[in-house]
Subunit: 166 residues, 2 copies
């Protein structure tokens, strides 16, 4: 089982955008440069996050991306489902119905217990991801990171943030 | 994110083996037939489960597979980790260290907060999978399935179980 590499980049980008001043945006290429990932690869995920209502895209020469809502309203689960898809990791193929002497579907009025148990466990994962917000992880980063890391981030944001005309 | 299709087959096989009499085994080809999956595909997973101490393989003309321990001691997590691998679904590539003006590793004395949060959520998933045993899912199957399904399973096991010489 593996989450898309895009999840790490998408969460880092959302956290970086959470640090921007309210009327500022950052371009996809600057975000890609900040985390050393391919711009075309990142763009795909940024566009998906826009489509899912997590980011807003502003077009034009001063365009870029910003969070579409408060960082306290964007959870890790929102980003994982946007980037990695919402289908469960466990996909039941109903193999219990295969084999010799097949029975018709009336013999299976209840869902497979294995499927139910697997999906319940996955709900715990999703529940835990839903409890972590971009606000919390960004605050934690600001409170616990080495001053050199914070300075580097501040400098980068100050250089690359694009301010929208008021 | 997707679990290997082998997880469904492996759990169903473990549950079927949990229903065998104590000195009986079932062959890989019979298990594959019972669930309509490819024998070579299933064999790979059965061998992995043997290597992980979940199943025992008995060789010879009356050979086959049986559980290596009590079904109450085999959890869904054991099977997921055996079949799908134990690496976390979230694989941190430390992209926080990328980008312009890189800092040396002394600037990152603490693990990335995003990685920590993602892995904590994954631990909830693993914890939930560790709470489900093959015994519980097999008992639930026996207690709640349609009589036609139970009869079909019993007939299949009675026909295909191989008894080891005492």
């Amino acid at each position: 089982m593996k989450l898309s590499d895009g999840v790490e980049a998408a969460i880092h980008c959302a956290s970086a955008l959470a640090s921007l001043p309210e009327n500022a945006v950052m371009s996809a290429s600057d975000l890609a440069e900040a985390f050393g990932v391919s711009p075309s690869y990142l763009l795909k995920h940024l566009k998906t996050m826009v489509a899912k209502g997590l980011l807003t895209s502003v077009s034009g020469p001063l365009g870029g991306y910003r969070l579409a809502k408060s960082p306290s309203e964007i959870t890790f689960l929102d980003i994982v489902l946007a980037v990695d898809g919402s289908e469960p990791a466990f996909r039941c193929k109903e193999i219990r119905r295969n084999g010799p002497c097949p029975l018709d579907s009336s013999a299976y009025p209840k869902p497979c217990g294995i499927k139910i148990a697997m999906l319940k466990a996955e709900q715990k994962y999703r529940g835990a991801l839903a409890e972590i917000t971009i606000a919390a992880v960004t605050e934690d980063h600001l409170a616990t990171s080495d001053p050199r890391v914070l300075k580097r981030g501040e400098t980068y944001l100050a250089e690359r943030a694009r301010y929208q005309p008021q």
